[in-house]
Symmetry: C2
Subunit: 209 residues, 2 copies
């Protein structure tokens, strides 16, 4: 597709580099900006560069944070011996929004993905190992997505953690039929797992924090 202007070509190409946005959508977004006050484009442009250049991470859990130590890691009322390992800030936000988890986190910043060229050294795995080595941790919960990359990362972490002479308990989040989900629509793998990993009925009605 040929655009009638160089500036238009550039903005479309740059927006279309974002995942899930094609050239057609990029063009629609660019034309939308033209109809808005110039301040909106200035704010967008500034926000992008400010975020990318100024983003900071918590020294302990590596979640995105404006402070050297994030609010969760500096909250003394939380259980710092319970560490939930997640892929990124979205997972922290999702778990936090339940209001039920009282442990802390470790944000990997991605998953091991040989296809995308992401190895263990691109993630904060070394930092996690240092935390386990230097701090008393009872349990590590692996809460990564149930994908090939998630499984790869799970196994890698499991192997690394169990290399320590004494290592924390390692658990993963439960896979099963979602609450409110109908059995007949669940995929087979999930259904099988939910039967294999069945739990005593009494446990299903109590809630552990």
């Amino acid at each position: 597709m040929e655009y009638p202007s160089k500036l238009l070509t550039e903005i479309v190409n740059e927006i279309a580099k974002l995942p899930g946005i094609g050239k057609r959508t990029a063009l629609r977004l660019a034309l939308h900006l033209l109809k808005q006050p110039i301040e909106q484009s200035e704010d967008l442009s500034q926000a992008v560069i400010n975020f990318r250049k100024g983003v900071k991470y918590c020294e302990i859990c590596h979640n995105i944070s404006d402070k050297p130590v994030c609010d969760i890691c500096s909250d003394s009322s939380r259980r710092h011996q319970l560490v939930c390992v997640v892929e990124d800030v979205r997972d922290v936000m999702a778990i936090e929004s339940t209001g039920e988890y009282r442990g802390v986190y470790h944000v990997l910043g991605g998953l091991i993905s040989p296809i995308d060229g992401i190895g263990p050294s691109d993630l904060t795995i070394d930092k996690l190992m240092k935390r386990i080595e230097n701090q008393h941790i009872d349990e590590v919960i692996l809460a990564l997505s149930a994908t090939v990359d998630g499984d790869t990362t799970n196994f890698y972490l499991y192997r690394k953690i169990t290399e320590f002479e004494s290592f924390p308990k390692i658990s993963t989040i439960a896979r099963g039929i979602g609450v409110g989900e109908e059995l007949e629509y669940a995929d087979e793998v999930t259904l099988v797992r939910s039967i294999i990993n069945r739990i005593p009925f009494e446990k299903s009605i109590s809630r552990h924090k």
Copy 2:
């Protein structure tokens, strides 16, 4: 939803102002930028502001153009007496990509939309009227979308053009069943229009440029 950082909050809010992008997608896009080289964010940021501040329009047809008069308007081999009125640059690109239309365009820059507070003076309608007044034009093709706003704009333009003592022929693009589309899946309004506006069979096999 609460974000753990001010910079993250800002980028998510700004990206989510774009049409069709929610806060969840905005967060995904922001986190994607973190995994890319910083140059990508710089280029995106620059492209947005360069486009919004530097965009120029053709003096004649008001399509986006780097030159004072665009390539189409300055092409002497085209029929300058045939003007196709469209909403924006996307429509010009769509028609141009057919390679069959040899007239010129007039880009309105939007549609009359009382709900969105867009009146005739927000569009390039005055400029179109000046073109019709000062230049010899045989025919104006109204090629606006078949929506409430499109119809409103069509009627407004029709009334304004027919106010001239001598005015060009005014036509609209044909509505009907798409080529290759199956009759049974067409909506009723389109189907009715395609029967009312039926054409002699011989015309359907020749192609007019």
